[in-house]
């Protein structure tokens, strides 16, 4: 079934992607109809004043105006709407119940909507049925809105067939009755019916948006159609278009609680469009300030507190919300999520029973629980809850999506794909599902290599180069974690490597654009291939190590470790194995007092409030873990992991295991931070904002720039960033002695600075030019300890060791270069030569294979070298095969011909 088109509609809301809308849209906002406001006379101040106040969000003013004219037509309805929007639901119902009802009075529908908003399904149902009986069925065009609401309600209450039939009748009525009979509110109701039936025919999603548009055109002052469209778009992850609709509403009424709630659901980038470049708004707080009881907003607040592992506060807020509005399904579901994450099974069971008593066909509870579990990385639980949601509502594409994605995270790619295909059939507009299926199609071109306990899934074109290094490093990491943490992988660890950042991003969050390089779902790890990033900017090996450390921490805690702890531990592990340094944003945040306290450290990862906060939080968390290990010994980290496994939250873990308060731990960490980084951070303030920011060479007037920078660096001798900038400028102008002086000062000021433009990098170049190879070598080591992704510097270090006749150190540096970027032939070639010189035949074979796989221009030469390495390692068959391949390209290649003869003669 589809909705009949009634001709063109202005594209106030365009359509790109839409979703099933089966449950719980908040009541459509009421707005004073045009005819009522224009016809009425005798209001104090006039009806337009009240209507304008209501539509502009000046609720006190609207309330006063409506109360002053309560006997006038439309005033009672206006007052009730004002009271509903500000959360005074009982008062709103009282106002409507006190009004005289005529045969066609819309009041029962308005009352039903309020009952629905606060979860009183039975009362709503009674009113709607009475109204339909009184005015006639939808087919007569009299009760379209009531029929639509009742149909949606029936679906949620588990009366599936009657509900679907009723919604069908609503659409039939729209298709058969002349268009002129519909009012905006009725069109909005038709749109909701169409969206709810979208799983039957995806065209209905488009139709829903179309009639929302029609409704918006018919009554431009009514925010409901735009907000209903926005919610539909949001459910499909079409955030940009959703943001447009929300912006249009909030521009007229910046205090619309539903609009603000939807704005709070927007991700950062589209949310920024709301303020058109101004200061970001805390939309959720604003929504709750207008309507402190608005159930969806309260539920979102609880969800966010849970994301930040602030369980006690979440519990308090959810319990209060349920106490205030005991039947509201959103807050009941939110409280159930608190119980789920707290492991309070009997309370959870009780809440579920209570919920299902009223809403047997509504998947909202199970979807909320599945999402909460998913955010906590309890993917198995999330999948189970998604299945439960499907039992309640078999048509729920959202439940299929959650199930499919979580099965993928559990490594069950076959079943996950099947479920997502099913989801796509029901809702082809869901961007997450579409992107993920596209990615799975691409995975067909990947190779899967099983090597217990690992399964490596690698791009076919890169597998030959990557596999040996990925496997060796994975084994080293797991061995190390086995020793330190007593970690043993219980299941196969699936490691997926993506050569396109967008694919990795889709695998991780379903949409392109994630900023991270790797992610761990427990037993499934996904990371970017080194080829996905520019050489020297991304260290794949430390990322893999980091993610494997997550796998250990998640396994040891049954996925209960909080984000800050596992990130801190993983980065600490990474720093010990590969090195790392403090970033400029970290120093700046420390200096500005922007580092979070430990119980709130998760906020820095989950809901950052300033650019760069996630990166700073990583480093901060690793310093906390470093402090714990140094102060209390490594065993305490194991104990804390066990505490998390038992379900304790961070404050309790600190109190019970460390025996101190979280505040005391904060204080101790602050002392450490001050001692190690405090003076450096304060030094950055010396020259004000201009002294901050990443070092950059002066442009476009180098001479004047260098003098200015040198003078500023002299005037701010404690500002290391300025010393580096001046050093770079002096270096580029050939004033090497002065440059050395600045870089040495910077290194002294910020010995732990780890940026790509760290002072040691320049010092190594300058010392080398100055004929001080030992200092150059030491500086390179210092730089690489702080910035191990510096591929070119590893090669330089290897060259220095080769020149000084130290093949062992040269080999180590080349290995590190490969850990930074393995896709280029040069380090492999050099390592192969070093291995050959030392008689390390197996190593030489590995490296010669890598040279070949890395796409060397001289393929015949590379094949011959590999054949020779195989020959030396005693692999005669492999040597024969490779030399034949070399000669197939270059049949007169003399050295290869000689090797072929040698093979025959010795064979």
């Amino acid at each position: 079934m589809r909705l009949r088109s009634r001709g063109p509609v202005p594209a106030a809301v365009t359509m790109a992607a839409l979703a099933a809308l089966l449950a719980g849209l908040p009541a459509a906002a009421w707005s004073p109809p045009q005819d009522e406001t224009s016809a009425a006379n005798g209001w104090p101040g006039g009806p337009e004043i009240a209507a304008a106040a209501l539509r502009g969000g000046r609720y006190d003013e609207a309330e006063a105006a409506y109360r002053a004219a309560l006997a006038k037509p439309g005033a009672r309805r206006g007052l009730a709407e004002t009271l509903r929007l500000t959360g005074r639901y009982r008062e709103a119902l009282d106002v409507l119940e006190g009004g005289a009802e005529t045969v066609v009075s819309p009041e029962p529908v308005a009352r039903a909507e309020i009952h629905l908003e606060i979860g009183e399904g039975e009362a709503a149902e009674r009113l709607l049925r009475q109204h339909i009986e009184r005015v006639g069925p939808a087919s007569d065009g009299n009760s379209l809105e009531a029929e639509a609401l009742l149909g949606l309600l029936e679906l949620r209450r588990g009366d599936r067939q009657p509900g679907l039939a009723r919604l069908d009748r609503v659409i039939d009525a729209y298709n058969t009755l002349p268009g002129a009979v519909f009012r905006a509110r009725e069109l909005a109701a038709v749109g909701r019916a169409a969206a709810a039936l979208g799983f039957q025919s995806s065209g209905l999603f488009r139709d829903a948006l179309r009639v929302f548009d029609e409704a918006a055109v018919l009554d431009p002052g009514d925010p409901a159609p735009r907000l209903l469209a926005a919610e539909l778009l949001l459910d499909k992850f079409n955030t940009a278009e959703a943001a447009e609709s929300i912006t249009a509403v909030l521009r007229n009424n910046p205090r619309h609680p539903y609009g603000l709630f939807l704005a709070a659901r927007l991700p950062d980038r589209p949310a920024a469009a709301l303020t058109e470049g101004g200061e970001p708004i805390d939309a959720l707080a604003q929504a709750l300030a207008v309507n402190p009881h608005f159930p969806p907003a309260r539920a979102l607040e609880v969800q966010r507190l849970l994301e930040q592992d602030r369980r006690e506060e979440a519990d308090r807020r959810a319990a209060t919300a349920v106490e205030t509005l005991p039947d509201a399904p959103e807050t009941l579901a939110a409280l159930a999520a608190v119980r789920l994450l707290g492991g309070e099974d009997s309370e959870l069971f009780e809440l579920e029973a209570r919920y299902l008593d009223d809403w047997a066909g509504d998947p909202l509870l199970d979807l909320t629980l599945a999402s909460a579990a998913e955010r906590r990385r309890w993917y198995r639980e999330a999948a189970e809850r998604s299945r439960a949601a499907l039992r309640r509502s078999p048509e729920s594409a959202a439940a299929l999506r959650l199930l499919g994605l979580n099965l993928l995270r559990l490594g069950d790619v076959g079943e996950g794909r099947r479920v997502l295909e099913d989801a796509f059939q029901r809702d082809p507009f869901d961007a997450l599902v579409k992107n993920t299926l596209d990615l799975l199609d691409e995975l067909d071109g990947f190779v899967s290599i099983s090597s217990p306990p690992f399964e490596f899934v690698l791009p076919a074109a890169e597998a030959e180069v990557l596999q040996p290094y990925v496997e060796a490093l994975s084994r080293e990491a797991v061995d190390s974690f086995r020793d330190r943490y007593r970690y043993e992988p219980a299941e196969t660890l699936r490691i997926e490597i993506y050569d396109r950042s967008a694919d990795f991003s889709v695998r991780t969050v379903g949409i392109p654009g994630i900023g991270a390089h790797g992610v761990c779902f427990g037993n499934v790890i996904a990371l970017e291939s080194p080829s996905a990033r520019e050489v020297g900017t991304y260290h794949w090996a430390s990322t893999l190590w980091h993610e494997l450390a997550h796998a250990a921490a998640m396994s040891l805690t049954d996925n209960r470790v909080p984000r800050w702890f596992t990130e801190g531990l993983s980065l600490l592990e990474e720093r010990w194995r590969f090195g790392d340094g403090a970033s400029l944003p970290f120093y700046l945040a420390l200096g500005d007092g922007r580092l979070l306290d430990i119980p709130h450290l998760d906020d820095g990862f989950v809901r950052p409030t300033w650019p760069g906060q996630v990166g700073v939080s990583y480093f901060h968390a690793s310093l906390v873990l470093e402090h714990l290990e140094r102060e209390y010994g490594f065993a305490v980290i194991l104990e804390m992991l066990e505490g998390y496994r038992q379900g304790l939250d961070t404050p309790r873990v600190i109190e019970e295991i460390l025996g101190i308060t979280p505040e005391a731990l904060d204080e101790a960490v602050d002392t450490l931070l001050e001692a190690r980084f405090g003076a450096t951070a304060r030094g950055l303030r010396e020259s004000g904002p201009e002294g901050q920011g990443m070092p950059a060479p002066p442009r476009p007037d180098p001479d004047r720039g260098v003098e200015t920078l040198a003078a500023r660096a002299d005037a701010a001798p404690a500002n290391f960033a300025l010393q580096i900038r001046a050093g770079i400028a002096l270096h580029e102008n050939g004033r090497q002695a002065e440059a050395i002086e600045r870089f040495e000062r910077a290194a002294e000021l910020a010995p732990e600075y780890g940026g790509p433009d760290g002072p040691y990098r320049y010092l190594s170049l300058l010392y080398a030019d100055a004929g001080q190879p030992d200092l150059a070598r030491l500086s390179l080591h210092d730089h690489l300890k702080r910035f191990p992704a510096a591929y070119d510097e590893w090669l330089r270090l290897a060259a220095i060791y080769s020149e000084t006749g130290d093949p062992g150190e040269a080999g180590a540096a080349l290995t590190s270069a490969i850990e930074a970027y393995p896709m280029l032939p040069e380090p492999h070639e050099r390592l192969a030569e070093a291995a050959a010189a030392q008689g390390l035949a197996e190593l030489e074979v590995r490296e010669r294979r890598a040279v070949l796989a890395s796409g060397t221009a001289d393929r015949a030469g590379a094949l011959y070298s590999l054949a020779r390495a195989h020959f030396r390692a005693g692999n005669r068959d492999a040597a024969r095969r490779r030399v034949l391949e070399a000669l197939e390209i270059a049949p007169t290649f003399d050295p290869a011909l000689r090797l072929l003869l040698d093979l025959r003669r010795e064979g």
Binding site: E534, G861, L884, P891, F893
Partner: protein, 347 residues
């Protein structure tokens, strides 16, 4: 001024006297047909580009004259340097105007270059659009005008390598029998090209000689540069804005991945030597004894059979193919061993 040290001092003849002719006496006294090389650096537009273009022109020239069999090499630059090193074989002979270019092409044809042919390399900026041009000092060069200049060669071996932007626009007008036309970009790609750097590297280094026969073919140089560009864009995570083309079957439609297969672009370019890299490559049929010459001919015939076998691989079982390949290669190896032994004994 950039200098490049000879890679194989023992195998290089850096003799300006050989540059005037097309047939050049190689090591061992054999006459080798090598193409005349005309290198044109067009208008730079900025000092940086001017320096880069003239630098590439010089590097190309140095690579060409440092081979065991250098041909006639002429360099034309946007501006002539005020002082040059006397006797420098890579000193520019003229400014890169249309008139000078026409003169050089005519001289190459007239100097008896028909047998060795001509390789014309254009380095610089090209214009796209309805009226494509290669930017020269004075009037820019159109594909049609260049085609007229090359008419003197008829269907003789001519190779044009346009290494600048929008180079693909020259392919249809220059394509024809005996012609290899190489373009760094498609006709509509107007960004500055990276291709020339890799093309120069193919001539200057050993890695471009894919089949290790000591000769760098046009196809090998093209492939080396094309892959280098691809790799570079990939490593930097950038969308590629240049796609090199090669046409040598005369249809005027360049191929992105030419190869030495019947009917494809690449056959002529694969057979045509751009420069000889090793003395051994030209020594084969030079001062050798009749016995050695017979063995070399036998070896080359076997190498041709390897090529044929490779072409026929698709219809063969893997093991059969490898067995036949090994049989042929062992015969070649034995011949190579005998050739080497006889040469060692030779006076």
């Amino acid at each position: 001024m950039r200098n490049r040290a000879p890679r194989r001092p023992g195998a290089v003849l850096l003799c300006a006297l050989a540059l005037g002719g097309v047939e050049t006496e190689a090591m061992g006294g054999r006459r080798e047909n090598v193409p005349a090389l005309v290198i044109v650096a067009g208008v730079g537009g900025t000092p940086g580009h001017r320096e880069r273009f003239s630098g590439w022109a010089r590097d190309l020239c140095v690579a060409a004259v440092q081979t065991p069999v250098p041909g006639r090499v002429r360099v034309l630059l946007e501006r002539l340097p005020e002082d040059g090193e006397p006797g420098d074989p890579c000193a520019p002979v003229a400014r890169s105007t249309q008139e000078e270019l026409a003169r050089e092409i005519e001289a190459a044809a007239g100097a008896g270059a028909l047998e060795g042919g001509l390789v014309l390399v254009l380095i610089g900026h090209g214009n796209a659009g309805r009226d494509p041009r290669f930017q020269l000092p004075g009037p820019d060069l159109s594909p049609e005008r260049l085609g007229e200049m090359l008419n003197g060669f008829g269907s003789g071996p001519v190779t044009v390598a346009h290494l600048g932007s929008a180079a693909g626009a020259f392919v249809p007008a220059l394509a024809g029998p005996g012609r290899v036309v190489l373009a760094a970009t498609r006709a509509n790609e107007t960004n500055e090209t990276r291709f020339p750097r890799h093309f120069v590297a193919a001539l200057a280094g050993d890695d471009g000689d894919r089949n290790k026969d000591g000769r760098l073919s046009i196809l090998e140089a093209f492939d080396f540069a094309r892959r280098g560009v691809e790799r570079e864009y990939e490593q930097e995570g950038l969308l590629r804005t240049e796609h090199a083309l090669l046409d040598d079957n005369g249809d005027g439609v360049g191929s992105l991945e030419p190869e030495m297969a019947a009917g494809m672009d690449g056959v002529l370019a694969g057979r045509r030597t751009l420069l000889v890299r090793t003395a051994e490559a030209v020594a084969d049929a030079s001062a050798d004894t009749p016995e050695i010459r017979r063995l070399v001919a036998e070896r080359d015939a076997l190498a041709a059979r390897v090529d044929a076998l490779r072409e026929a691989r698709e219809g063969m079982g893997e093991e059969t193919y490898l067995a036949e390949l090994e049989t042929l290669l062992l015969q070649i190896a034995e011949l190579a061993e005998r050739i080497a032994a006889l040469r060692e004994k030779a006076p």
